[in-house]
Amino acid sequence: MQKYLYAFLLLLISNNVHAALNIFACEPEWAALARELAADKADIYSATTALQDPHHIQARPSLIAKARRANLVVCTGAELEAGWLPVILRESGNTDIAPGKPGNFEAAHAVTMLEIPARLDRAEGDVHAAGNPHIQTDARNFLPIARALSARLSELDPANAAFYRSRLQTFTQQWQAAIARWEKQAAPLKGQPIAVQHRGFPYLNNWLELRQVAELEPKPGMEPSAAHLSRVLEQLQRQPAKMVIRAAYQSERPSAWLSEHARIPAVALPFSVGGTDGAKDLFGLFDDTIQRLLVALK
């Protein structure tokens, strides 16, 4: 009996010991970035998919089990994961990934935050003290984040530091070229008025110079009511928008309603890697995002 028990325990422990680093990414975009930078030197697990609302994830047993063996947690930070990550980190019993440790990486630390609230009050809805956390919608943000993440990989796995450096160099070159391409493609979008379902695109707006004229959620994180949607419609009649955009994980109903009544196209953007069929990797994420915006503009 005891023999079987030991065999079972050994099986559990020896289950998975391939790559040097075990990375737990909170969102798919960071899993994709880690894949670009670490390639096969790391086992990468994404805690969420692009079809899930990253604000509202359950602290599932599977996530706690994954965090238990992680060497590095790569998350957005800025309180995006405040509703679930703290429990996972605590319950995992893994001190390497505790906040403040090298094994805890927050992408938001590497970029300039937008929409830092002047007033912290829950009456304002789901606002984050550190600023709007949806930083992954501006392609330019990936450059400083990649630099910081690559440095962190080297710190945790010094034996492969040269490898990570060369991956970073390759990624940076490819990404800069891609940014130039995207900006050229997106030129017709400049100054175009848009409506958004959730306040999730300030970085995209900032990058492509889209002009956001309306939000469907009455307060960030609150479902739009019929009355509020009618008010938005009224507002759009005075100040028209070219399209209404939402993230793939959000309910299509509010933007579909507005699209029908305001006669503007509704666009579902991938928001993260895997949000649409076209967004297979980081490059695909922005190829597809810009394509969808351009199609809607026509």
Binding site: G93, P99, G221
Partner: protein, 457 residues
């Protein structure tokens, strides 16, 4: 006394002084006027200088704004607080406000066959629920502390939780000590504001007085595997029922539990567990226990209490996106064996003989979020009072077989405008007492403000 007198005299002198001045000569007045005009010039010059300086400063600050904006970005990054909700407020403080309105046909009493157990029943009419204040923070790099204080509507404060967690053990170990909710079962660790129904399942009410709280130590270990496997052990004073709050060396109760869990695809997740609890009961009194002659007496039990439990929960959400729609199915079963000596009617006959009984209960519930903000739930409860083996001396006194299965069916609907507020209506048909069916209606609100900790699975 004398000091007051001097002060009075000085004041009087000051008051009289202006009248003396009126008697002064014109020359003196002229001198005073000159002095005043000198003072005036002096001040005007100074004010002009100050105004000039202010203008310069304003000009400087305008030109500095641009570079300040740039610096701000750097400063913002440097001063950003550490990760997690708890880092934002230190310590994290939360307040839960809750209340119910209950429309009940029967007064609250224990389920048939469970008269020797406590009765955390319901109250009729408007009730302020327990308001809860939660405080938690890292104590130092080694420890984290958390306390939950319940404010009783009638006044007074009780300590619901007050524990310290060791945060640097690593290797999957988690150590907790102080007062905490036991990790047995599934809903035992959940705070009242996270319950899916107004009340706890009957089996929790009858066997754990709603929730087993313990003063002691808990050690948990999480296996380093892809499947979630957690083993835990607790020893404590035996504060919560069925323990009898022993104040002696050693421990009064112990718990062992194991949980396993995982995902099936992205849409399904589950957790299942087994728990064992053991407590030594010493002179546990129970009032208003019916006996064979139809009287209500006070009995006392001393002996051993052993409980085994099984629990499971399964959750489903399309695409794993719980924010829109999701479904949760959960069930638990507990079986308790008590054996020892029962003293019948401590007030008069006071007869003691052996007593042993095995009681059990289970519930099954489903909660469905059919659209954002709205959930509906159904729960079925059942208890088995068991057949007691009563020693010969008490055979004619103590009821050994009630021959009744208490049950309850509850239906709830709740609306949560945000993750911080919830309004609920619950209908229940309570058949926990033989011949006394109670049709219950509850209205409830639960609001939380301040720091809001992440919830368990």
């Amino acid at each position: 006394m004398s000091r007051k007198l001097y002060a009075g005299a000085a004041l009087a002198a000051l008051l009289i002084h202006p009248f003396n001045a009126s008697a002064a000569s014109d020359a003196e007045l002229q001198a005073i006027r000159e002095q005043i005009s000198q003072l005036k010039d002096n001040y005007e010059r100074r004010i002009a200088q100050l105004e000039q300086r202010l203008q310069q400063a304003e000009a400087n600050s305008k030109s500095a704004t641009n570079s300040a904006a740039q610096n701000q970005v750097a400063a913002q990054q440097a001063s950003r607080p550490a990760a997690g909700g708890e880092g934002v407020f230190n310590p994290a403080i939360s307040l839960i406000l809750g209340g119910t309105y209950g429309n009940l046909q029967q007064a609250s009493a224990p389920a048939t066959g469970f008269a020797m157990n406590p009765n955390p029943g319901h109250e009729q009419g408007f009730n302020l629920g327990e308001s809860e204040i939660g405080i938690s923070a890292s104590i130092d790099p080694q420890f984290r502390g958390a306390a939950t204080l319940a404010l009783d509507p009638a006044g007074g404060i009780s300590v619901e939780n007050a524990f310290v967690q060791a945060t640097t053990l690593g290797n999957g170990f988690n150590l907790k000590f102080g007062r905490f909710f036991s990790g047995l079962g599934y809903v035992n660790e959940q705070h009242a504001h996270a319950w899916d129904f107004v009340d706890q399942p009957l089996v929790y009410a009858a066997l754990w007085e709603n929730q087993l709280g313990e003063d002691g130590v808990q050690l948990k270990w999480l296996a380093p595997s892809d499947t979630f496997i957690e083993l835990g052990a607790e020893i404590g004073k035996g504060r919560g029922f069925p323990g009898t709050d022993r104040a002696k060396n050693g421990s009064g109760a112990g718990v062992l539990f194991a949980h396993a869990g995982g995902d099936i695809g992205v849409e399904h997740s589950w957790r299942a567990g087994a728990s064992l609890h053991r407590a030594r009961r010493v002179a546990a009194g129970s009032e208003d226990v019916p006996d064979l002659s139809g009287n209500e007496v006070t009995n006392q039990f001393s002996g051993d209490s052993r409980t085994a439990g099984l629990d499971f929960v399964w959750k489903y959400a399309p695409d794993g996106n719980t924010a829109r729609t999701n479904f949760k199915l959960q069930g638990e079963y507990f079986r308790r064996k008590e054996s020892g000596d029962l003293t019948y009617d401590t007030a008069t006959t006071n007869t003691t003989d052996s007593y042993a009984v095995t009681q059990s209960g289970w519930y099954l519930q489903g909660v469905y979020q059919f659209m954002p903000m709205w959930r509906a739930g159904l729960r079925y409860d059942s208890l088995d009072p068991g057949v007691a083996q009563v020693g010969a001396a008490n055979a004619a006194n103590v009821i050994s077989n009630y021959g009744y299965t208490p049950t309850r069916t509850a239906l709830m609907l709740d609306y949560s405008p945000s993750e911080f507020s919830r309004l609920r209506v619950q209908l229940a048909q309570d058949k926990s007492r033989q011949g006394l069916t109670d049709n219950q209606v509850f209205l409830q609100y639960i609001m939380s403000l301040g720091a809001h900790g992440a919830h368990q699975f």
